[in-house]
């Protein structure tokens, strides 16, 4: 009974609580770090250095008026943020956070599930999550939202490819689809050393998948006002926002798992290493956002189809050849 039911429930609560707390504070970190990159302070008023800002934002969002536009497709309009957030949060289930630990003589693994196709699970659900963006933009009955949704689908269609090819080379190196096995395979050498090209391709296309600057086409403020979420207000908007940051957390932890050796690291316990690496990747995302302006739409497509995809495919072929000859 205990093993079957109680431990998984406790694990669920702890992992989702910790992760969602981490994600909520990513919004704070982003505003704060962006501020400092631009010689500002960022939030300072709510709590010590704005530490309570995420809570204040949440309270504000809950009490805001909800507007459903007149010519919106109401059912889809309401469904879109739900798809977005649920598909984002599901991804947390398969991320391995650390070594198995022993509490009260019971061995507890630090992941909720370890399907043998973990990485495919993540790629698949991340793609379903983008339906939230597309449907949200389409159902708003707003041309800007529609354009944002279109752009989102184009971006995700193209960048999913190079991302998947980068992942394929990692699967070849570690010989498994399971994220736990992938981390275990990096015990001695991290994959970033074995597959630097795949890391670069995965990172760039990951940022594009996240719709973050410099690839924030679906929500290009200067062209589309706000993009796919233009008609959303109140908690629905907050759900989109939260889904975006959950995707960012999942992306950072994927980079950690696939390339930076997961929970492996000296001295500190595995979970600390995992969150440290994840934090660094998130910081890198924010840093890039503070530096690079948005690319023009055709250049984004050019970058993917003429550069990243060929490079990723070449990388897979080279990896295969090297493995065939030397291993």
């Amino acid at each position: 009974m205990g093993d079957l039911f109680i431990i998984p429930v406790i694990k669920l609560l702890v992992i989702f609580g910790v992760c969602l707390g981490f994600i909520t504070y990513t919004t704070w970190l982003e505003r704060k770090a962006l501020g400092h990159f631009q010689l500002r302070y960022g939030p300072m008023r709510v709590g010590f250095h704005g530490l309570l800002q995420p809570i204040a934002d949440g309270v504000k969002n809950i009490f805001k008026e909800e507007v459903v536009p007149e010519n919106a497709d109401k059912a889809v309009f309401i469904l879109a943020p739900i798809i977005s957030i649920s598909m984002a949060v599901i991804l947390l289930a398969v991320i391995p956070f650390g070594d198995p630990i022993t509490i009260f003589g019971k061995k507890i693994t630090l992941y909720i599930a370890n399907p043998s196709i973990g990485i495919l699970f993540i790629l698949a659900f991340a793609s379903i999550g983008s339906y939230g963006t597309i449907l949200g933009g389409w159902s708003s009955g707003n041309k800007y939202g529609y354009m944002g949704g279109l752009r989102a689908s184009a971006m995700i269609l193209s960048y999913e490819l190079s991302m998947a090819f980068a992942v394929i080379s990692i699967i070849m190196v570690s010989g498994s689809f399971s994220l736990v096995d992938m981390v275990a395979a990096q015990h001695s050498v991290w994959n970033i050393v074995r597959e630097p090209v795949a890391f670069v391709v995965f990172f760039i296309s990951g940022i594009a998948e996240l719709n973050r600057i410099p690839f924030d086409m679906p929500e290009a403020e200067s062209e589309l006002c706000c993009g796919y979420n233009i008609e959303y207000s109140s908690m629905k908007f907050a759900l989109f926002f939260l889904a975006e940051y959950t995707h960012m957390f999942v992306f950072a932890s994927l980079v950690t798992t696939l390339f930076l050796g997961g929970w492996h690291g000296p001295l500190l316990p595995g979970v600390v290493w995992f969150f440290l690496k994840t934090f660094l990747i998130i910081f890198l995302c924010i840093w890039i956002r503070a530096t690079i302006p948005r690319l023009r739409y055709d250049k984004i497509m050019k970058l993917e189809w003429k550069f990243l995809l060929p490079v990723a495919i070449a990388n897979v072929i080279v990896t295969g050849l090297v493995m065939a000859i030397f291993v």
Partner: protein, 153 residues
């Protein structure tokens, strides 16, 4: 010529697609900014330094006995280019004149400081207060009681 802080990406280079170096340069630049002290002034907590000659809200000065220095001569009202000052003098037998009513409309005032210069008694002067808010226009017509306490709160 002073070294410009702007990172120049030449057109030629951008066409060749070698934007890796400029991006790394840009990342270095933003990171160096990250560790600098922000230039923001946290306004309600700290304020920027104002000039010594800054002209803000009016104040009616008091003498040693705590009486108004003003003798209601009307010079300030006469010189005021925007006619923001209106006063009614009052005089009892054998005593100094004093203003019965002295109203400065702070919304009309252009803060030229002429009233301060014209005053023979040094009775009116401008303080350095510039951040004043209220709920209606009427509240900006400062009467004697309000002018006495400006900057002494």
């Amino acid at each position: 010529m002073e070294k410009s802080e702007i990172i120049v990406v030449s057109k030629n280079r951008a066409e060749k697609g070698s934007y890796v170096k400029p991006i790394l340069q840009g990342l270095g630049y933003t990171l160096s900014n990250f560790f600098k002290k922000p230039v923001t002034v946290q306004y309600p907590d700290e304020e920027t330094k104002r000039s010594q000659r800054w002209r803000g809200l009016h104040k009616l000065n008091l003498d040693e006995k705590g009486e108004l220095k003003c003798v209601a001569c009307g010079l300030c009202a006469a010189i005021c280019p925007s006619q923001a000052i209106s006063l009614v003098p009052y005089e009892e037998e054998g005593q100094t004149r004093y203003p019965k009513k002295f109203v400065v409309d702070e919304l009309r005032c252009i803060f030229c400081g002429f009233c301060q210069e014209a005053c023979p008694k040094g009775a009116i002067s401008l303080t350095q207060i510039y951040d004043y808010v209220d709920y209606c226009r009427k509240d900006f017509e400062f009467d004697i009681e309000k002018l006495k306490t400006t900057g002494r709160m």
